[in-house]
Structure formats: C-alpha cells, structure tokens
C-alpha cells in the first residue's frame, strides 16, 4: 500500500499549494532547462518559495536520467491527488517532495514519460491498456494492483475517490473500471463511467486551482466558479494592458534592464538603473488623465460582475482581490499596488 504517493500536501494550504503544484506542472512541462543563472527568479512570491524549492529540488536531484519536466510534473500531479487519497495518507511528511521521491522509486517515472508522449490532450481510451505501459510491467503492475485492491471496497464514494486518485496518478494510459454491485455491466455504461471518472478527476484539479472552490460540491457550481474565474482573469489582462498603454506612451523597453528591475522589485525596493525612463514624454501624462477617468467608469462597471468576490468600491479592488487569489499576500506586490495607487492619484491631481 505504500506504493501510492502517500502523503498529500496538507489540505490546509489548499489553493496556494495546489496552485503552486499546478503551475509547477505546467512549467515543468514547458521549460526543461531554464538558464537559471541568467535571471534572478525574484518574480516569485516568497511564501511559496519553500514549496517550490522542494519541488524543484526533488525533481532535479532524483531524476537526472529521465526527462526532467515530465517526471516532476507527474509526481506533482500525483502528489496533488494524494490529497484526495483518504485511504492512503500514510506518510507523515507534508511535503510533496517526499512523495515525489517515493513515486519515482516506484517507477512512475516511466508512466510520466508515457504521459508526456501521450500528451494528456489525447482523448482517453477507457478500457484499452496502453501497450507501452504494460511493457513497463513492474511499474504498471503495482498501480493496477492498487486499483484492484481499491475496487474491492464497497463503499461507493470512497471507492470513486480512490479510483479517481489512482487513475489520476497514471493520468491517462488506461482506466480500470470494474462494475460495482447493482450496476449495469455493458460496455457502454462502463465506458461512460470511465469517462465520468476522468472528468471528475480533472474537475478536482481545477477545484484546487480556483480559490474557494474546494467547498463546493457538484459539477455545475464548480463549473460556474471556474467560468467566473477565467473571465475575471481575462478581464484583468485587458484592463492591465489598457493601463499599460495609458501609462507608457513612449514605450521602448530595454529588455534586460526591465527584467532586472522586475527581478529586483520583489525583494528590495531599490531598482537598478532602468533604461525605461529614456522614452517617456511627460507631456503625455496630462493627456492620460482623461483616459484614467474612463477607466474609473469602466472599473465601476466591472464591480457588480465580480459579485461576491469583493465588496469594496475601491478602484484598486480588482488588483487587491487578485492578490487574495495569489499564493500569498506578498508584501512586495502589495507595495507595488500602493505605488500604483499613489501613482494614479498623483496623475489625477
């Protein structure tokens, strides 16, 4: 039974950690070899650095031979799902790195590679066992055994949970579905059930990512939250790009200095010299006041749409509420928000 990921990251950290994990997954899939030395990764929110450090540490140390991103990606996926794995929360350590090390030893690395090649965009093959996974028999067998052991549990809810977490660990190669008591056994309903299980797995992942979705049960409500969140994020982007356009009339970014400034901004407030000031005609600033007025109205229109997410009428509210979504109320980003407010107020005078 120790084949599973065992410890889950603590549920208390919920959205923050899962956000981390989710993003780590994405990132690790995307960028295998970052030239870490060239950038100081200070865009990061400090509260999550420990978690991330552990993730990346475990990833880099453990699996030099394997494709780095895919392994840790899967591991973290699996770690996430060990959260839901009530029956298997054996280990004490709350850090996913340990679970990830276990997983790797258990050979889910091969599965990871499998997943990467499968590219989880492929549609599921419900009852087809992937031949390559079968070939890596020692690795696949423990998980299938796990599954079958889990399946013997009669309690429906618990079973679905463990099944889903098992399946999630393997991500996609195959889905074991066994008929439970009193359920139809024809292939259609089996396939449907397999599909449903997969959907539920992924919905759980999404639930972690969206703040405030953990307590909601039911697909429809969760979907609603997700939709709201995606919409709000997209609106954020629009809004921010509009503001950037307003603030920087004569933009000519010197990439390196800007990046250095970005990196430096989080930890310390003194910027290195930036080449940005070169091109900003100050005469434009007065003209921008008009634009900002429009933004006030635009934002106040946005307020009701945000609904329960915030109730203050502050103009900066969208930013602040987004901060609350972020992994940690980062003092530096709060600081930047204050600066923004000051900046805007000055411009309005």
């Amino acid at each position: 039974m120790d084949l599973t990921t065992g410890s889950g990251p603590e549920l208390d950290e919920t959205g923050l950690d899962s956000l981390q994990l989710g993003e780590d997954i994405r990132h690790l899939i995307a960028a295998p070899s970052e030239n870490a030395s060239s950038f100081t990764a200070l865009l990061e929110l400090p509260a999550n650095q420990a978690v991330e450090l552990l993730h990346s540490d475990s990833g880099r140390k453990q699996y030099p031979n394997l494709t780095f991103p895919s392994n840790t990606a899967l591991l973290e996926r699996a770690a996430i799902f060990s959260v839901f794995h009530s029956s298997n929360s054996a280990d004490s350590c709350s850090v996913p790195s340990n679970s990830s090390s276990k997983n790797l030893e258990k050979g889910s690395a091969v599965k990871c590679e499998q997943l990467e090649t499968d590219s989880y965009l492929d549609s599921c093959q419900p009852l087809v066992s992937d031949p390559t996974v079968d070939n890596s028999a020692p690795n696949a067998r423990p998980s299938s055994k796990r599954k079958e052991r889990e399946k013997k549990v009669k309690a429906a809810s618990k079973k679905s949970k463990s099944e889903s977490s098992q399946q999630e660990e393997e991500k996609l190669p195959y889905v074991h579905v066994r008929a439970r008591r009193g359920q139809a056994t024809d292939s259609h309903s089996l396939a449907e059930r397999a599909r449903r299980e997969k959907i539920n797995q992924r919905m759980k992942l999404l639930q972690e990512l969206v703040p405030g979705c953990n307590k909601i049960s039911g697909t429809a409500l969760v979907l609603d939250e997700i939709i709201n969140h995606v919409q709000s994020l997209q609106r954020h982007v629009e809004f921010l790009s509009m503001r950037l356009a307003a603030v920087n009339p004569g933009m000519d970014f010197n990439v390196d200095s800007l990046v250095a400034a970005e990196s430096g901004s989080l930890i310390d407030s003194n910027f290195p010299n930036m080449a940005m000031p070169l091109m900003w005609p100050e005469a434009q600033v007065n003209g921008n006041r008009h634009q900002f007025q429009q933004h006030w109205q635009f934002d106040s229109l946005q307020q009701p749409v945000w609904g329960r997410e915030e109730d203050s009428h502050n103009f900066i509210t969208p930013e602040n509420s987004h901060l609350s979504y972020d992994s940690s109320a980062n003092s530096a980003s709060l600081h930047s928000n204050q600066l923004k407010m000051e900046g805007r107020m000055k411009l309005h005078q």
């Binding site: 990061e44 549609s123 000055k346």
Partner: protein, 187 residues
C-alpha cells in the same frame, strides 16, 4: 534554486518585451487603443509561445494571431526558433477543427431530445443539472481559446493549463505596470 513558476513568468516577460520591441518606434504614433491592442496581442502571443506546441489553447491563439498582419509579424518574431513545427501545427489545427466542428454539428442535428414524461423528481433534477452542466461547458468552451473543438476531458485540462498561464500573465503585467508607474513618478 529557481522556482518553475517564476521561470515561466520570466520567459513570458522576455518574450513579451521582445514582441513589444517589434512595434518599436511606431508606438509614439499609435493611439491609446492601438497601443493597448499591441500590448495585449504581444502578451497573448508571448503567453502562448511559452506553452507552444503542447497545449491546444496556445496553438489556437497562435493560429488566430497569424491570420492578420500584426499577429503574423509577432508570431514570426517570437517563435522563430520553433516556428516551423508550430506554424504547421497551428494551420493543421485550423483544418482539423473545421472537420471536427462539422461532425459535431451533424451529430447534434441527428440527436433527438427525449422528453421525459412522468419522471420522478430525482430523474428530473438530474436532467436539469445535466442541461446546466452542458450549457456551462459551452460557455467555458467559448472562453478558452480553441475550446470549441475539444471534448470535455481535454477541455478541462486545457482550462487548467490556461488558467495557470493566465495567472502568470496577469501577475507579470501587474508588476510591470507597477514598475512603469513608479518610474514615471520617479521622473
């Protein structure tokens, strides 16, 4: 130790800056709306390129952007290392999506909605909730770029990835905005 999330952000930032530089001196003459569009476009393409090739939404963004001139230039500029494979993938996606869409329309037209008569309350509630879920998945499909062509499962995965990237994008943009306003005020 570099946290992967911030590396994603740095990549995005770098590509975004590269994209903005493409506009170069034209910035001075653009109206504010055009500037905003340029900023947003380069941000979106930069975001898609960080995930290029592996996710459906990123390919969809790139495919859409390649349709008009501005986007094409940006795409070529930002994606030049991996451009070949990616461009092919994007164009292929467009073709494939059309085919998938036709099939789905056909399927839907053949499907007859069954009217449940005398259904018990439980069954009724289930059908109602199913309809709600279906409607919401359609909304989600309209939100996620390239989402109309995906089945439920991949839609959820795409949403996951897309949300994470969007968050990173918003974060980077917010910080650069703060930086920009600081510099303006500092002057």
């Amino acid at each position: 130790m570099r946290a992967p999330r911030s590396v994603l952000k740095q990549q995005f930032l770098k590509k975004w800056m590269m994209g903005l530089q493409v506009f170069g001196s034209a910035k001075q003459s653009m109206s504010i709306l055009e500037r905003k569009k340029a900023i947003k476009l380069s941000a979106d393409i930069a975001l898609a390129s960080t995930r290029a090739g592996r996710t459906c939404w990123s390919r969809a963004i790139i495919a859409d952007a390649s349709k008009d001139d501005d986007g094409k230039v940006l795409v070529q500029h930002l994606l030049s290392p991996e451009s070949e494979r990616l461009k092919k993938a994007s164009t292929g996606l467009a073709m494939e999506n059309k085919r998938v869409r036709c099939k789905k329309i056909l399927k839907r037209s053949c499907c007859i909605k069954r009217v449940r008569k005398g259904a018990s309350k439980v069954v009724l509630a289930k059908s109602i909730s199913k309809r709600i879920v279906k409607r919401r998945t359609q909304v989600l499909k309209s939100l996620v770029p390239g989402g109309e062509f995906m089945d439920d499962i991949s839609l959820i995965e795409e949403t996951l990835d897309y949300m994470v990237s969007l968050r990173a994008q918003v974060d980077v943009m917010r910080r650069s905005l703060a930086k920009a306003t600081e510099v303006v005020n500092g002057k």
